[in-house]
Amino acid sequence: MSDQIIFEDVSKFYGEVLGVNRITLSIPPGITTLVGPNGSGKTTLMNLMTGLIQPSRGRLSVLGLTPADATEFFSAVGYCAQFDSFPRNITGWQFVYDSLMLYGMEKAMAADFTVEALDRVQLGEAAGRRIAGYSKGMRQKIRLAQSIAHHPRVLVLDEPLNGLDPMARAESMALFEDLGRQGMHVIISSHILDEVDRISDRVILITGGYLIAEGDIHQVRQEVHEKPMQVLIRCDRPEVLASRMFSVNHCVEARLHADGKGVFLRTSELDQFYSMLNGIAAEGLIKIDSVAPADDDANAIYQYLIGTEGSAS
């Protein structure tokens, strides 16, 4: 059995409206972030992945399974959709428990799994209340609980941080990170790029229904040649470092850090840049505290590849 989520030339059209076009992808285990502006096709991609919609063209499989094999497929996949709606008149506990019962579990096991899932999203105390009375954050959590309750191998999360307060966001992020580290496929679409970026292994950029880039965040960043890399160097004499660096032609921009104890340098030749920096450090004239890439995160990649015409969501 494959351990990848595979899209082979997948297109989806809603009548004459393009959903996604000619997507070819292979997503390995780990945490993958789906990034793109509003209406770019992220939710379409997730709905295709989970069988809620069928491709107009092409094929896709999740761990070698297709939604036609409903029993196996949905035992392996959990989807926390962004639709903020629930079956009527049910409590949080019933919502999770009922869905587990459909997996053919014993009642006791379904109850245990329900308790476990509710505890993981810190919703144990409110489980007996009707979902209709939940706050937005609680509704988000109960959806998350339902999607992870059956211990899926693939977890698809559409805007999972929406409506959560900072504490709950941090808890959710820790949960996703934990699940990703255990070898689960976690596919997240979120517009809180700074937070998702910290835990993501891979990024998929999509706009207007077209795939723009995909892969390891750092690799994708390096592929964006037209935008020189930015590096933040914390040191005691940033202005001297900046002037030294400007003596070579691949350094195209320098900007002092606001606290005056660092400099942002932009270079089109990263390897040469680092070897020159090593030389300067060896000279001992400047004391370098730290060197870190400043723009190889999902946010920067989004800005460079998709631009500011739409905000990520």
Partner: protein, 291 residues
């Protein structure tokens, strides 16, 4: 120390009167109602019987046509109160079909999408909101009921060789009054039921059910309890009696089931009051969700 730029000015210019604002809602509701192709299709369907009646009136008043249709057949197209009763009844029942499609469109979107708090946060009262919607429905139903019926009445007066119109003014009054009663009842019923169930899909069915189910229940009550008062639940029966009496057409129902005008008026008023109570309950700028 904070520095504030006091450049912001609230709007203090002229505003339209509250009555005019209601017309804005009516205009939008009208546009919403007619945005659907099905509304147009239903409207065309509603005009088909009128066209047939128009041909009937022409035939009835044309000596050549009458001479071609000999004997009893020519009596079939006598244009009198009975003829206009059939036309009015047909148009009014088609108006129910149109209403079941249109009424949910003008109100359920606001409720299902939780737009009501936004609308009512404007300087528009709940009554104004409902009245605007009511006007849209009233206008929509008018163009398939009394307007074409009166048009036929005028055409009959024009084509008739006899001084027909002056002697039959009661028919025109009956058409107008009968249509108004039906339109007002239907519009209030349509608004109330659509607001109550909130979902357009459900509302269409509920409007039909609200007219025909009580009629069935009334028929059962009349048959089982051997009483004519069960017919007070039968809106189709009551409104047909009203039209017959207003137009002065002969009553063709069983005389054992006679209902006095007062009881019919009370029942229709009661139905409207129940609808008002439902609207009062549903048309609010908030919704309590109990968890």
């Amino acid at each position: 120390m904070a520095v504030y730029k006091r450049s912001y000015r609230a709007y203090e210019g002229p505003v339209t009167s509250p009555a005019e604002r209601i017309l804005v809602l009516a205009r939008y509701a009208w546009a919403e109602a007619w945005a659907s192709k099905i509304t147009i299709a239903l409207f065309i369907l509603c005009l088909v019987p009128c066209l047939i009646s128009l041909v009937g009136i022409y035939a009835a008043n044309n000596p050549l046509v009458r001479s071609l249709i000999n004997g009893k057949a020519s009596e079939l197209i006598n244009v009198d109160a009975g003829f206009f009763l059939k036309v009015l009844s047909g148009q009014c029942w088609l108006a129910l079909v149109l209403l079941s499609w249109v009424a949910p469109r003008v109100i359920t979107f606001d409720l299902a999408d939780s737009a009501l708090p936004i609308l009512l946060s404007h300087p528009i009262s709940r009554f104004g909101y409902l009245f605007g919607k009511f006007l849209a429905l009233f206008a929509t139903l008018s163009i398939v009921t009394w307007i074409p019926c009166l048009g036929l009445f005028i055409y009959q007066g024009y084509t008739s060789t006899l001084p027909w119109m002056a002697g039959n003014l009661r028919i025109a009054f009956g058409i107008l009054a009968g249509s108004f009663i039906w339109i007002i009842l239907l519009s209030i019923l349509g608004l109330a039921l659509s607001a109550w169930v909130k979902w357009r899909v459900v509302a269409t069915g509920v409007i039909f059910a609200a007219v025909f189910i009580p009629a069935g229940v009334g028929a059962i009550a009349s048959a089982v309890l051997r009483t004519r008062w069960g017919f007070l639940l039968n809106i189709p029966y009551m409104i047909t009696l009203v039209w017959q009496r207003l137009l002065g057409a002969p009553e063709h129902f069983n005389t054992d089931n006679f209902l006095p005008n007062g009881s019919i008026a009370c029942m229709l008023t009661l139905a409207c009051l129940v609808c008002f109570a439902m609207l009062n309950q549903r048309i609010r700028a908030r919704e309590v969700v109990r968890g």
